[in-house]
């Protein structure tokens, strides 16, 4: 198709033609086009259907405020919904489709909603889909979801990468229009470290869309020169296609850089987008202003646009919005559009100016005191009906109408810390109020300085102020000459004439009538107005419509606009893709794995790994012929108890605690006593929180008079270390104690089973006989000359040791252990077998250390020493935590050995109704014990210590199990502990 609406000029590269398709039809555009400008150049005005009524819509704007022209961009996994055609940079091969229309954009079946509009007024959903409640999930919600919404997700995984990063500057300048460029030049020339970010793909802001001069040259040329100068400064960073989306505390801003959105596919290794966290000392908002429409009947037809957008399409992109264009304005800026179009040879049908008096435009039909009262054209504008000053009406044929209701400074970011904007009646707009983000000031149109001179002057002034704050010397250079015309606005928010719908918020299909209805139903506060009518919601957040809605509500309530107020602006300024927020942290790369020292060896054996925290631990190691995990786990348990098994326990937290007060320190952080522990011995320790609940447990060894090694659970390694630092620095700052984590420094293996000693004695250089290295012994050893550590501790209930070597030798160690163990048929066991053996022994772990249980609950109440002060000692004595009928740790097994029980089951007395009131406690952990040949479990049962031998029901609605169980001692296996002392 020919670019029928392409006119002369503009900042496009006509030598580069780009092919693209929209709804299957092929078009040509040029480098520098947006999808919207290219479609308009090709005479395509209809680009979407509205949210609620499925009204035909074209672009309203030429920027990021666009409510209407939302399309699907790209295909397949890269298809992106709700892309604003007005900012989508054209590339060769671009493929766009309309959304929210079926079967086609021109014939949308859901347009029936438009005929039914009297049902779909504000509050329709609230009023209609109220009851019966049971209808919500099955009937109402699916209907609403099908009918509503805009674009569709591809539902495929995003194939692109997203990056993140951190930038630092003295002064962040947000927006590269005349104010931002002047601010950046002033700050850059003074030697400040500057970041200048602009959401557009070309710097210059409105200068690219205007015809007036700056400093004696075309505004766009001045912008190019300014950019060139800034690029020559090494301390200035220019960031194109970068939107500052939020202001956070203490000068931190978030920015989304669309690195590859303008390419069909990102270059190899390059991200699609980058989320930047910018640390600034000062920031200047030079984000410009957004034009607002005037509401009138049927003001939403394709071809009706903001006047400034019509001007931008003509000046920047060389596109006439239509072959015959009318203008409807309440201020002088609208007149500028008419003059620029006239200069470009576009047929200007008329300027309908709601104001009276003043100079008439030369050579243009300028109707003062007139208003547009209606429009016609089903899929695009054909004519407007005008009420003339005389009272007569006239129909003026036109294919485009530019509407200017005045300009709203883009105050959004200044309100991110709850500052409310202030009303300025001379420009009939809100400007940034006091109390905005510390260090942020506004310049240019964002501050209400709407002229070019005003932008340059305030940009320079705010930069000088920021430089002075930072103690940097700077002088005010001469400002380039530029126009300084007032906007001369006479507010007109909506045309009062007409019974039809006049749109305020085109994205959410909110009309003047809806605001009136909200008022009638007493939703007059702006926050209520927003939620009742959906004014200002969705992707554009009401950038063009909000102030209109507020002004109309003000009129209805008889309040002033400032008294009516605004809703709160929150980040993000424009929509941000979830991918950009996730960055690289998704899928496999969500978090880095931690690998154990024996990982390589275990992988060679075909081990099955399980994520424990971030660790990959061996879960079990299947042998040939084993078809279920249970076979492997049962074999590992039986082999360990029969001879010897080896397990990598490096993941347990290890903390080196030294200092002359190390023992005293441990007495304070552990409920039991460690200062009396002999050198060369270790002891099980129980750590409480200050509220008396068990925090963690583990074994701590005394390696020297002033040297202990603490172990923590894998899960709590970090929080225990944090807690120890807290105790050391905050609670007892004069204790001589130093701590450091050694979790990863040592590869540590548990060697358990009747043959554990015989195996280890083959490789340890020292005598480790029972006499030389008794139960709970600990010490430094050597293994073939290599320094190591040995602890005689057991989690499995077997004769067991933990042996450690520096991590780099961990791989050699597991191979050495397996070689030395070959004669004993040594096996490696994983976390599942570990779990079986610890439950057989009644040791508590994650399921029991649940953050709700006391030492008494666990059957460890006697461990809490009252002879010394320790964290949690006092509050563990609270009455409620020491009731005789409180929870106690018990063992559980099914009465019928074939019976199945499940963790999470609740105990009920047999015969009692299965209800909350009968709940006696719950099962915390369950395994199959190959020794007992049945399921066994641990659990917390009220007065459990008094119920040993009793039969109860274990009921679990989730797993649908209901089993008669016997309450037993939690020590299923070798209750006297003879094996581990063997």
């Amino acid at each position: 198709m020919k670019q029928s609406n392409r006119i002369s000029g503009g900042q496009i590269d006509r030598s580069t033609s780009l092919h693209f398709t929209f709804d299957g039809r092929s078009y040509l555009g040029h480098a520098g086009d947006t999808l919207a400008s290219a479609l308009l150049a090709n005479g395509v005005r209809l680009m979407g259907r509205s949210f609620k009524y499925h009204r035909p819509r074209g672009p309203l704007s030429a920027g990021s405020e666009e409510p209407n022209a939302l399309v699907h961009l790209r295909t397949g996994a890269r298809q992106e919904p709700n892309t604003r055609a007005t900012v989508a940079e054209l590339f060769d091969g671009l493929h766009a489709t309309s959304q929210n229309a079926w079967p086609s954009l021109r014939f949308d079946s859901m347009a029936i909603n438009d005929r039914l509009n009297s049902f779909f007024t504000a509050g329709f959903y609230y009023k209609t889909f109220m009851w019966p409640a049971a209808f919500w999930e099955k009937i109402y919600e699916p209907i609403i979801r099908r009918a509503a919404g805009l674009g569709a997700l591809s539902k495929e995984e995003d194939p692109d990468e997203y990056d993140k990063g951190f930038l630092h500057c003295d002064i962040l300048v947000i927006g590269a229009g005349p104010a931002g460029l002047m601010a950046a030049l002033t700050a850059g020339r003074a030697g400040a470290r500057v970041i200048l970010a602009d959401e557009d793909f070309r710097m210059g802001g409105r200068l690219n869309a205007e015809t007036y001069e700056v400093g004696g040259m075309a505004g766009a040329d001045w912008a190019s020169a300014a950019v060139a100068e800034l690029m020559s400064m090494p301390h200035v960073r220019l960031m194109l296609r970068t939107t500052i989306v939020g202001a956070f505390d203490h000068g931190i801003y978030s920015a989304v850089e669309r690195v590859s959105d303008h390419l069909a596919v990102p270059a190899a290794g390059k991200p699609r987008q980058t989320l930047w966290r910018i640390y600034s000392k000062r920031a200047i908002l030079a984000g410009g202003a957004t034009e607002r429409p005037i509401a009138f009947e049927n003001n939403d037809r394709p071809g009706i646009m903001l006047a400034g957008a019509v001007r931008a399409y003509a000046n920047r992109w060389g596109v006439a919005a239509g072959d015959r264009v009318a203008i409807f304005t309440n201020n002088d800026d609208g007149l500028r559009t008419a003059r620029d179009l006239q200069a470009k040879g576009v047929d200007v049908a008329a300027v309908i100016d709601s104001r009276q008096g003043g100079d008439l435009l030369a050579g243009i039909r300028h109707l003062q005191g007139a208003q547009v009262i209606d429009s016609s054209g089903r899929l695009g504008l054909r004519s407007v009906t005008v009420r003339l000053a005389s009272g007569a009406t006239e129909t003026i044929s036109c294919s485009a109408l530019g509407v200017s209701g005045g300009w709203n400074p883009n105050v959004n970011i200044t309100s991110h810390h709850r500052s409310r904007p202030e009303w300025r009646s001379d420009i009939a707009a809100f400007v940034p109020g006091a109390g905005g983000p510390a260090g942020l000031t506004a310049a240019g149109a964002a501050s209400g300085a709407l002229s070019t001179h005003g932008a340059l002057a305030t940009g320079q002034a705010q930069a000088l102020a920021a430089l002075a704050d930072l103690g940097k010397a700077a002088t005010a250079g001469e400002l380039p000459r530029a126009e300084d015309a007032p906007i001369a606005i006479s507010p007109l928010w909506y045309v009062h004439e007409g019974k039809g719908r006049a749109w305020i918020d085109q994205q959410n299909d909110v009309t003047v009538k809806d605001v009136k209805l909200a008022h009638q139903e007493n939703f007059t506060a702006v926050e209520h107005l927003k939620r009742y009518t959906t004014l200002g919601m969705a992707t554009d957040q009401g950038k063009t419509g909000n102030v209109l809605g507020i002004a109309i509500m003000a009129e209805l309530t008889g309040q002033s606009i400032p008294a009516t107020g605004t809703t709160i602006y929150r980040p993000p300024y424009t929509p941000v893709a979830m991918g950009a927020l996730a960055g690289r942290s998704r899928g496999r790369e969500f978090k880095p794995f931690r690998l154990t020292p024996s990982h390589k060896w275990a992988a060679e054996q075909g081990a099955v790994f399980v994520e424990v925290g971030n660790w990959l631990r061996t879960q079990w190691v299947p042998k040939a012929g084993e078809t279920t995990w249970r076979e492997s786990v049962d074999r590992e348990v039986l082999a360990t108890r029969r001879s010897v098994g080896i397990c990598d326990v490096t993941t347990l937290g290890k903390i080196d605690i030294q200092g002359t007060d190390a023992g005293a320190f441990l007495d304070k952080v552990y409920a039991n006593t460690f200062s009396t522990l002999a050198v060369g011995k270790c002891r099980y320790g129980l750590m409480l929180r200050e509220d008396g609940i068990v925090f963690d447990d583990g074994t701590t060894a005394r390696m020297g008079p002033h040297e202990y090694v603490m172990t923590t659970t894998t899960a709590n390694a970090v929080t225990v270390f944090r807690h120890l630092e807290y105790c050391r620095q905050v609670l007892w700052p004069d204790l001589d104690v130093q701590i450091i984590s050694t979790t990863e420094a040592w590869a540590q293996f548990s060697v358990a089973g009747p043959n554990a000693r015989r195996l280890l004695q083959k490789i340890v250089d020292q005598d480790i006989s029972d006499a030389a290295f008794p139960y709970m012994g600990a010490g430094n050893i050597t293994i073939g000359g290599l320094r190591g550590r040995l602890f005689r501790i057991s989690f499995s209930g077997e004769l067991a040791y933990e042996i450690a070597v520096p991590t780099r030798y961990g791989d050699a160690m597991i191979r050495k252990l397996m070689a030395a163990g070959a004669e004993f048929d040594a096996i490696v066991y994983g976390t599942e077998a570990l779990g079986v053996m610890r439950i057989e022994k009644g040791h508590v772990a994650g399921g029991e250390l649940n953050g709700q249980s006391t030492a008494l609950n666990m059957g460890l109440g006697k461990m809490v020493s009252k002879k010394k002060d320790s964290i949690g000692m006092v509050l563990s004595q609270r009455e409620g935590m020491n009731r005789d009928d409180g929870y106690r740790l018990v063992g559980v097994k099914p009465v019928d050995p074939k019976g199945s029980i499940s963790a999470g089951s609740h105990f009920m007395e047999i015969g009692a109704p299965v209800e909350l009131a009968s709940d006696g406690g719950w099962l915390t952990s369950k395994v199959f014990s190959p020794h007992l040949g049945c399921d066994i479990a641990l659990g917390y049962l009220k007065a459990g210590d008094q119920k040993i031998g009793r039969k109860m029901r274990a009921v679990n609605f989730l797993t649908k199990t209901d089993t008669i169980v016997e309450i037993v001692s939690p020590h299923f296996f070798d209750p006297e502990g003879e094996r581990l002392r063997g």
């Binding site: 190899a268 290794g269 880095p592 931690r594 040297e707 204790l735 130093q738 520096p806």
Partner: protein, 187 residues
């Protein structure tokens, strides 16, 4: 006593790895030992004397300082990490303990960490995507703990084109992966 054990590097190889991406080189280093060295209460004079005798620098906060045998960087108030050559000082605690005696708490840290030296070109563009530290404005010899892709890492700036990282050894592959993909995105 020397041992004959075979070691694996943090990345799981027998030899240290070197990865080149564009102008950047990421070199795994296995030839440096580390120990934490912490001052015990009231032992300031003895501690300083022992350090002086060993030629062991005790740099101030956020700083790394090189010495003839031992180098060191600051970790936390009254605690430093000491570096030395692996071949001659593998059991670094045994080398330090006799000098410091009861004036210091000393803990072997060598294998708690993986060390990567990142070199080859100005690194600001790479590290601005990895850490919130403002690498380009930091002085040479700057040392600090920071976060790189969820991992707590010590970063030492040797020059604008040379950075040393000590990251958690168990996540060596994850840290290298982060460096690699980021390097690929900026070259």
């Amino acid at each position: 006593m020397a041992n004959t054990w075979k070691s694996l590097t943090a990345l799981g190889h027998e030899e240290a790895q070197v990865v080149a991406i564009g102008p950047y080189q990421i070199t795994e280093r296995c030839d440096v030992v580390l120990a934490s060295l912490a001052l015990r209460r009231g032992q300031d004079a003895a501690f300083a004397a022992a350090a002086h005798k060993l030629g062991l620098p005790l740099p101030s906060a956020s700083t790394h300082a090189a010495g003839p045998v031992f180098s060191a960087f600051w970790a936390t108030p009254e605690m430093w990490f000491v570096e030395a050559d692996f071949a001659s000082h593998e059991d670094i605690v045994a080398h330090l303990k006799p000098a410091f005696g009861e004036a210091a708490s000393i803990t072997e840290q060598t294998d708690a960490w993986v060390r990567f030296d990142v070199t080859g070109a100005p690194l600001a563009a790479l590290f601005e995507r990895l850490t919130n530290l403002d690498l380009s404005s930091l002085p040479d010899g700057f040392a600090s703990r920071t976060v790189i892709e969820h991992l707590g890492v010590y970063l030492i700036r040797r020059s604008a084109s040379a950075v040393v990282l000590y990251g958690p050894r168990s996540s060596a592959q994850g840290l290298l992966h982060a460096l690699e993909v980021t390097a690929k995105s900026v070259i």
